[in-house]
């Protein structure tokens, strides 16, 4: 079978949740993800950034089919997944794994580290002997920097960084091709974040892994990603190569996001001109008409309220959903 062009292809993915308006008053639709398309190559890291409520975690889970998409297609190795039978879903479960934000919450408190890491292997290869499983667990534990003697310990005996290594070992034991990382370092101490980021990058290089790296931290995303996707209220607003995005952010939201991150550099931080967005995120239940960002956008005009900007090419290889990506913002 010829290798498809992209490992993963997501086309116009929508995830809408019904939200009850109250007793007998019908339902609203929460459009958590509303028409997002992207693709992913082998060995590539796609960063997904955005603020709370932008749909980035929902997107990750919809790719994994942990949440049923409302509409759109997810193609894994050229194969449609949204209507997949249980056999091809099994392949997906073997090839695509996830690691979570809260490392302790993602580990069953009543199982030992060894049992937790072995579970995916036992599920997919029930024919493996106990000794084989144990050997595989030991091997992967060594890979992620866990010492062998920890195998019989329980999650509550570990610090956050160690627990995240256990989560990574569980995700890696089936030798997947893609890992969805949902804010994997946000809950960790600063000095531990770098360890986990390095580990993920090292595993990626060694196994030619693809990563979907979901985070609200633009500095971390910059370090780990090849391409970056910016979401706002369920819509893709900008998709670009890493260096292009940080050097020449096109969408006003991306520009505001980047300028809002404080630099660990007092002199530069004090001189910096910032774009401070006014107001709060609108309710995703009732998003603004036209461009969803227009209520906070310093460039907004009448056209933005009427016409939703389509995602289009801009500059070299950037894609942006804005009517005026070339305009300058004066803070």
């Amino acid at each position: 079978m010829p290798e498809p062009r992209h490992m993963l292809e997501v086309i116009d993915l929508k995830v809408h949740f019904p939200v009850s308006r109250g007793f007998l008053r019908g339902q609203d639709k929460l459009k958590a993800v509303d028409g997002v398309s992207f693709n992913l190559r082998a060995g590539e890291t796609l960063g997904v950034v955005g603020e709370s409520g932008c749909g980035k975690s929902t997107l990750g889970r919809a790719v994994l089919q942990l949440i049923q998409p409302t509409d759109g297609n997810v193609l894994w190795m050229g194969q449609e997944l949204t209507e997949a039978d249980s056999a091809s879903l099994r392949t997906l479960r073997r090839d695509v794994q996830i690691i979570f934000q809260d490392p302790l919450a993602s580990l069953d408190p009543r199982m030992t580290v060894g049992e937790i890491i072995a579970e995916p292997l036992e599920t997919h290869y029930p024919e493996k002997s106990k000794a084989e499983v144990r050997e595989a667990v030991r091997a992967i534990m060594a890979k992620v920097g866990l010492r062998e003697e920890m195998i019989n310990r329980y999650p509550h005996e570990f610090s956050g960084g160690q627990a995240q290594r256990i989560g990574i070992a569980r995700a890696m034991i089936l030798q997947p091709r893609l890992i969805v990382c949902d804010e994997p370092v946000s809950a960790l101490d600063v000095s531990i974040q770098a360890q986990i980021i390095n580990l993920l990058m090292q595993l990626q290089a060694e196994f030619n892994l693809s990563l979907i790296f979901i985070s609200h931290d633009l500095s971390v995303v910059r370090h780990i990603s090849h391409r970056i996707m910016v979401l706002y209220l369920g819509k893709l607003v900008e998709l670009a190569e890493r260096d292009a995005l940080y050097a020449r952010p096109a969408h006003p939201y991306t520009r505001a996001l980047i300028s809002a991150v404080p630099l660990p550099d007092p002199a530069r931080e004090r001189e910096r001109k910032r774009i401070v967005l006014q107001g709060d995120l609108p309710s995703p239940l009732n998003p603004p008409s036209g461009c969803r960002f227009r209520t906070r956008c310093p460039l907004a005009e009448a056209r933005c309220a009427e016409e939703e900007p389509k995602l289009r090419h801009f500059g070299d290889g950037q894609e942006v959903a804005c009517h005026f990506p070339e305009r300058e913002i004066r803070p």
Binding site: S191, L257, L263, E269, R274
Partner: protein, 341 residues
């Protein structure tokens, strides 16, 4: 230099903390969350306190504010305008707390009463502390909400906390903390739970408060970026002790403690590419229950020597106002794991 920081040299400090030590009695034994912390805070100054979870950064100020959990005990001395306030009786402390020293927390929802309108919660303080009547207290509450830039303050003052967004709630908390025009505002991770664009708004607001009202601010955070943005002076905490303290510029550009150095080097930056592998501080944050003899940072330190295992390093000055707790005189940065010279 801002006018506020010029004044600091001539005036006595607002807060003077000496040998502050806070211990907690736990079923597994006594734990020293804060050990031997000394610092001063002057009017109009912003002190950044940075550290990881369990570094004791919050507990210092919980001790000062008399808000320790019931199994905690603080010793040492904390003077507010020359008056000893550590372990003061709650009734007397209440006259200072909220009025002269205010504190805001990471999660505003836990400090706001969900059953009372914002007006009730704000005016209560004014009526109790300053003996205002209801009408003028309400007027003042609306004024304060305007100061923290809550749109339509007149209408919003009658709303309940859950009707505000996260960023708005934090503004309400700041407004409440500022009601009695405190000299010192202690902010414990005020923006950690917020999105970056909202964080930028709140940091801007605090910047203005400092400039316009001359409030001294203590900013407790784990984010070096936030520290760089707001602070005049920085205190880096590790294992319940001050590892390094100094003016923000010298501390960021010439860090002398291996921990500060590692922390700054291991952060991915939005303004530059650090290459493939990040320099890291190996190991885990220390467990306060099992602190080793000698330096708490010893097993994660690239410069650890025989002496560090035995002898606790004391804070000693390296330059004007800049001290660090390390036995080493010089740090060769190349020793840091993963640094590309």
């Amino acid at each position: 230099m801002t006018p506020a920081s010029e004044m600091t040299d001539t005036k006595a400090p607002l807060l003077e903390v000496k040998n502050l030590t806070t211990r907690f009695a736990t079923p597994e034994g006594e734990v020293a969350a804060v050990s031997d912390v000394n610092f001063t805070l002057h009017a109009g100054e912003t002190l950044g306190v940075v550290g990881e979870s369990g570094s004791g950064k919050s507990q210092i100020f919980m001790s000062i504010m008399g808000l320790l959990a019931s199994n905690g005990k603080a010793s040492g001395s904390v003077k507010y305008r020359g008056q000893e306030i550590l372990n003061m009786a709650p009734a007397r402390l209440n006259r200072i707390r909220g009025k002269s020293l205010s504190m805001i927390f990471q999660d505003p929802m836990t400090s706001l009463n969900p059953f009372l309108t914002v007006e009730r919660q704000m005016t209560e303080v004014l009526v109790l502390h300053q003996g205002m009547n209801k009408a003028s207290a309400r007027k003042r509450a609306i004024e304060m909400l305007d100061v923290v830039r809550i749109p339509e303050a007149k209408r919003r003052v009658d709303m309940y906390p859950h009707e505000f967004s996260g960023g708005m709630r934090q503004r309400v908390m700041i407004a409440m903390a500022l009601l009695c025009e405190p000299d010192v505002l202690i902010a414990d991770e005020p923006t950690t739970a917020l999105d970056v664009t909202i964080q930028a708004q709140i940091l801007d607001l605090m910047d203005d408060l400092k400039r316009n009202l001359g409030t001294a601010i203590v900013m407790i955070t784990h984010d070096m970026g936030v520290i760089a943005r707001l602070s005049d002076r920085v205190m880096v905490m590790y294992g319940g002790r001050v590892a390094e303290t100094g003016p923000v510029e010298t501390l960021f550009y010439q860090p002398y403690h291996p921990y500060t150095l590692g922390l700054l080097a291991s952060m991915p930056r939005i303004d530059s590419d650090l290459g493939q592998a990040l320099p890291t501080i190996p190991g885990q944050p220390p467990n306060l229950q099992f602190l080793p003899a000698g330096c708490a940072f010893q097993d994660r330190c690239a410069w650890c020597s025989e002496r560090c295992l035995k002898e606790l390093p004391l804070l000693r000055p390296v330059s004007e106002g800049h001290s660090r707790a390390c036995h080493r005189d010089q740090l060769d940065i190349a020793a840091l794991e993963g640094v590309h010279a």
